[in-house]
């Protein structure tokens, strides 16, 4: 164990850092884009009925294909990884934003209108807060997927934890495989725990206890 860190400590640290950056950057961009698109779609449910199924078919394309194709066009630069990961991360958040907003009971929106709120105020102060728990579940799914797909960055020589796994697999070095794989697993579990916590925090205070 100690020998492992002596040998690969620095390499592992860099890999964790790069991997972490890939995930955070692409999920953050995806989160912003997805919420904007989700809100837009929720205003025109008729389009959503066409667009969402199309996107879910698109989502079945394995990440490796997407990274590969972008790599052929865009070359071996970090933006290839970020773009691919971002596009993948958008869908779960987008879908949950849309569903979350649509599921807000009509009477709340009606009440907001009755209070004299403008449509923007209703959106920002009533619909989005109420939809937030659902949106955060989408965020959790996206983040876990992204940690997983970011492993593929190594396939096109762009580092991250996948690099250790690849190097280990091709040189038959089990310690290297385990080092990369266990760190990736820990990162995924860590992120999901963190987002679970966030999930609890965003629940509107009035809805936290069952006894209203």
């Amino acid at each position: 164990m100690i020998r492992f860190f002596e040998l690969y400590g620095k390499r592992l640290l860099t890999a964790v850092g790069v991997h972490f950056l890939y995930v955070v950057v692409s999920v953050t961009i995806a989160f912003v884009v997805a919420i904007l698109l989700g809100v837009l779609l929720s205003r025109v449910p008729r389009w959503a009925r066409v667009i969402l199924p199309l996107l879910s078919i698109f989502q079945t394309i394995p990440g490796i294909v997407f990274v590969g194709i972008l790599f052929l066009y865009n070359g071996m630069v970090p933006s290839t990884v970020i773009i691919a990961l971002t596009i993948y991360a958008i869908f779960p958040i987008l879908k949950n934003t849309y569903v979350g907003i649509l599921e807000v009971p009509d009477e709340y929106i009606e009440a907001a209108k009755g209070c004299g709120m403008s449509p923007i105020q209703t959106l920002l102060q009533v619909e989005l807060p109420l939809a937030m728990p659902v949106i955060i579940s989408g965020l959790r799914m996206s983040t876990v997927y992204t940690v997983s797909w970011a492993v593929l960055a190594a396939m096109i020589g762009l580092g991250g934890l996948g690099e250790l796994i690849y190097a280990g697999v091709s040189s038959n070095n089990n310690t290297l495989i385990l080092g990369g794989a266990i760190s990736a697993a820990l990162m995924a579990v860590g992120f999901s725990l963190l987002i679970d916590l966030l999930h609890k925090l965003v629940l509107p205070r009035s809805l936290r206890r069952d006894a209203l």
Partner: protein, 199 residues
Amino acid sequence: MTADVILTHLMMVLISVILTIIVGVPLGVCAYLFPAARRVILRVVEILQTIPALALLGIIMVFLGAGKQTVIIGLLLYSLLPVVQNTYVGLSEIDPAIKEVATGMGMTRLYRLIHVELQIAFPLIFTGIRIATVTAVGVAVFATFVGGGGLGKLIYNGIRISNMQMILSSTAVLMVMAMLFDIVMAIIEKILQKRFSGR
């Protein structure tokens, strides 16, 4: 594109799904029967699915070596969540009145489980199996990195030699495979639901 590669892919998926059912349904039943084990079982399968697929395959490869056995075990662990969860949810959502009737008729616990509860929960369990199968088709692409072959190998080779046509055609086969499983199993699901609610 050879039929051989597609067949390898299909075989890995089918074997792992069958194993997932053999392992997952009893685990779901355990989670239902023993409240003490419930949290542990549900938590563990959830964590398994959180682990990046390639990392999971890498860890298994350290123990089992490169090859199809690693892929199949990896897919099995990865697909457990929907099957275990749906078995558990399906069983615990059964109307208590039905269970009472079964007990009242003199059924033993085991008899009631097999002949009443599992039957009623079956459509939902099948939904879990469908999700597991469709996911497994996609995850099996990673097989190529641990020496398992399949469609992932074609895609990976296509990327390495910059052969767009090779990448796209193998992806198309993969998507068709996933969608066929999804559609056919969705139809079976509808039939099951009708049969079980129509009585």
